[in-house]
């Protein structure tokens, strides 16, 4: 057995790329859930973002309009969910699952003409002296811009929730919507905004898959990434930096197990392939054993002003 061929530098570099779609989708979903809404439609929004991003990328010949269109399209799609759950007070869990079905079907129909095409992708950034730092340069300073944007987004969400008044209001809506309403805040509007933000993030995550990480369009290509994003939000106990930890941990174990196989480790493959899920469970158990961080109190409950 020789693990000498597994390079930590390359491993970390791989993890940052492979975790980005999940990270983007998860940080968006976290904001949605902090506002008190549970949207299980992440998979549907991601794949819609993937196909729209790819299509626009191919047609414009550039990845950035693709990302913008993906964010927009998924945000619009998420508002279907928003209108149903917030204005028509439909059940969030079922509506979210309906959104997943809807998105999977829609994306396949949109994507038909784009199968087998190649798209423009994002260049790796040259961060000048930073990229030249030995080890660290290759490890963290040699990625495309979206990787850094996803990290910046985590920081921004953290700062927004912690330091801004709007963030406070959003959290209030999630913790106790009746009290927030009594204080004069427009709970429904806040939540619609959060849902649209979550949709946009999921769309970006999907577009990152189809434009950078894979890159291609194929029907069903998200292959469950949206579900992992949902799990990461829970893993993080609804805290932004822990979303980052969760996404990188999950992505890390996934990449590591493939590397261990590639290096010929004598570990049963069935265990290796289940390891990302097992490790995530185990770490969450350890975290929760040390103190419970609950979900937002109004999560998933319908809100109606007359109540």
């Amino acid at each position: 057995m020789d693990f000498g061929s597994i390079s930590l530098v390359l491993l970390v570099a791989s993890v940052m790329v492979s975790a980005t779609p999940i990270l983007l989708a998860a940080i968006g979903e976290m904001v949605v859930e902090r506002s008190g809404v549970l949207n299980l439609g992440v998979e549907g929004m991601m794949i819609t973002g993937a196909v729209v991003g790819f299509a626009v990328g191919v047609n414009t010949g550039s990845a950035w309009p693709g990302f913008a269109a993906a964010a927009l399209a998924s945000a619009v799609l998420s508002l279907t969910f928003g209108v149903l759950t917030q204005l028509f007070l439909s059940n969030q869990v079922a509506t979210g699952l309906g959104l997943t079905l809807f998105g999977l079907g829609l994306s396949a129909l949109i994507g038909k003409p784009y199968e087998g095409m190649k798209s423009p992708t994002l260049p790796k950034l040259d961060l000048g002296p930073l990229s030249d730092i030995p080890v660290l340069g290759r490890m963290v300073f040699s990625h495309d811009l979206m990787v850094y944007l996803s990290l910046a987004l985590v920081a921004a969400v953290w700062a927004f929730l912690k330091f801004t008044r709007a963030g406070l209001i959003l959290r209030a809506a999630g913790e106790n919507h009746d009290a927030a309403h009594a204080l004069g805040y427009k709970v429904v509007r806040i939540r619609l905004a959060a849902i649209a933000f979550g949709g946009a993030c999921a769309g970006l995550g999907g577009a990152y898959l189809s434009l950078v990480r894979v890159p291609q369009w194929t029907e069903g290509m998200t292959a469950g990434a949206g579900w992992i994003a949902l799990a990461i939000v829970v893993f993080a106990s609804w805290r932004p930096w822990w979303v980052l930890v969760g996404a990188y941990l999950f992505g890390g174990v996934t990449v590591l197990q493939l590397n261990l196989q590639a290096a010929g480790a004598q570990v049963p493959v069935a265990i290796l392939s289940a390891s990302p899920y097992l490790v995530t469970i185990l770490v969450l158990v350890v975290i929760s054993a040390r103190g419970v961080h609950g979900a937002p109190a109004s999560l998933g409950r319908p809100f109606h002003a007359s109540q």
Partner: protein
């Protein structure tokens, strides 16, 4: 819409007499395991279906159902297709075997064709492709071209089809390059582009400069292109959008000649149950163009190997070959029998690691 009212009673067992009037088109049905847009396995079967339509024109009508899960849903899908008046039904995944057998027994007048299985009946044939012949050529090119002597292999599930491919590629890489080493990653999926991309990157980062894949998406091709200095082979479809490099050649599943042949047999009334395992010679396995990235002498020898395979002069599993544990499998000059190949569940000597189970 063709609504020949065939059945009104629950007694499916007394199924439709497939009385084919001359003017009525023959109906050919196809059951797919994945979406047509998978770009690989199902995509190629559907291409062949379209070729059938093209070939026969008004004489034949085709129907299909995509993304049919294996198991209970498959049996229903096949039955409904038979009820809809199909004269011949192709079920295109191994997992459809038992459902196809079951439905075939209830519709004695409908012809069934099951891909990659081994159970037959009077109205049920099986067909499969000797992809391992194509793997031999891949192995030959890979072994000749690797500079690190490390070849990465993205495998899906540990089933005979996949194991056969690994063995065949390895034997022929080893033949031209005794120092070659295979690193196998089991992705445990047929189709997950993101995971396939990760697997390809992991292999590349571990020093493999040739990536062979037995999963369906082009994600490994893209990963290889990004890395540079890595070569790949198209799987199931040509994947020519990645030619001339990293994709230097490919194995193409070409089902069209077989499908046309069998539908013709139904039209002629000459259809008979059979078991076929076609290879390069019959055209079911095609080798995609070997690109300019391959040195001239390697290309020549690869094409020569292809000729010998096509003519049947050479069999990829010709002894002496030992099993991984060193025990003898094939003696000098002995050729593997189809029975062993069909159920192959062991590595040949020289491969490292264990087949997972």
């Amino acid at each position: 819409m063709n609504r020949r009212t065939l059945l009104a009673s629950a007694a499916i067992a007394l199924a439709a007499p497939a009385a084919m009037a001359q003017d009525e088109p023959v109906k050919a049905g196809f059951i797919y395991v994945g979406p047509i847009g998978d770009g690989g396995w199902t995509y190629e079967h559907d291409k062949a279906r379209l070729a059938v339509e093209e070939h026969f024109g008004d004489q034949v009508e085709t129907v299909y159902q995509e993304s049919v899960p294996e198991g209970a849903d498959a049996q229903r899908a096949i039955t409904q297709m038979a009820l809809s008046g199909a004269d011949i039904i192709f079920t295109t995944s191994f997992g459809f075997m038992d459902p196809t057998v079951e439905v075939a027994s209830k519709f004695p007048d409908v012809m069934f064709e099951h891909a990659t299985g081994y159970k037959t009946a009077d109205n049920l044939s099986t067909y499969s492709a000797r992809f391992y012949e194509g793997r031999a050529i891949q192995g030959h090119i890979a072994g000749s071209m690797t500079e690190t002597n490390k070849i990465g292999y993205i495998a899906s599930f540990p089933i005979p089809e996949v194991i056969r491919g690994i063995n065949s590629a390895y034997l022929h890489a080893k033949e031209v390059n005794p120092d070659v080493e295979f690193n196998i990653v089991w992705a445990y999926t047929w189709f997950d582009p993101a995971k396939e991309a990760d697997a390809a990157r992991a292999l590349i980062e571990n020093g493999n400069d040739v990536i062979l894949q037995h999963t369906d998406s082009t994600a490994p091709q893209a990963a290889a292109q990004e890395a540079g200095d890595v070569i790949t082979f198209g799987q199931a479809s040509d994947m020519s959008e990645y030619a001339p490099s990293p994709r230097v050649s490919s194995i193409i599943d070409n089902w069209a000649p077989y499908y046309i042949d069998r539908v013709q047999a139904v039209i002629d009334g000459s259809w008979e149950s059979q078991q076929v395992w076609h290879g390069i010679g019959e055209g079911m396995v095609e080798i995609g163009e070997i690109s300019d990235a391959v040195p001239e002498e390697v290309r020549t020898s690869a094409l020569e190997l292809k000729e010998r395979l096509a003519s049947g002069e050479y069999h990829p599993f010709t002894g002496p070959i030992n099993r991984q544990d060193g025990s003898a499998w094939l003696a000098e000059g002995e050729v593997a029998d189809d029975e062993t190949l069909l159920g192959m569940d062991f590595y040949v000597e020289g491969l490292t690691g264990e087949i997972p189970n």
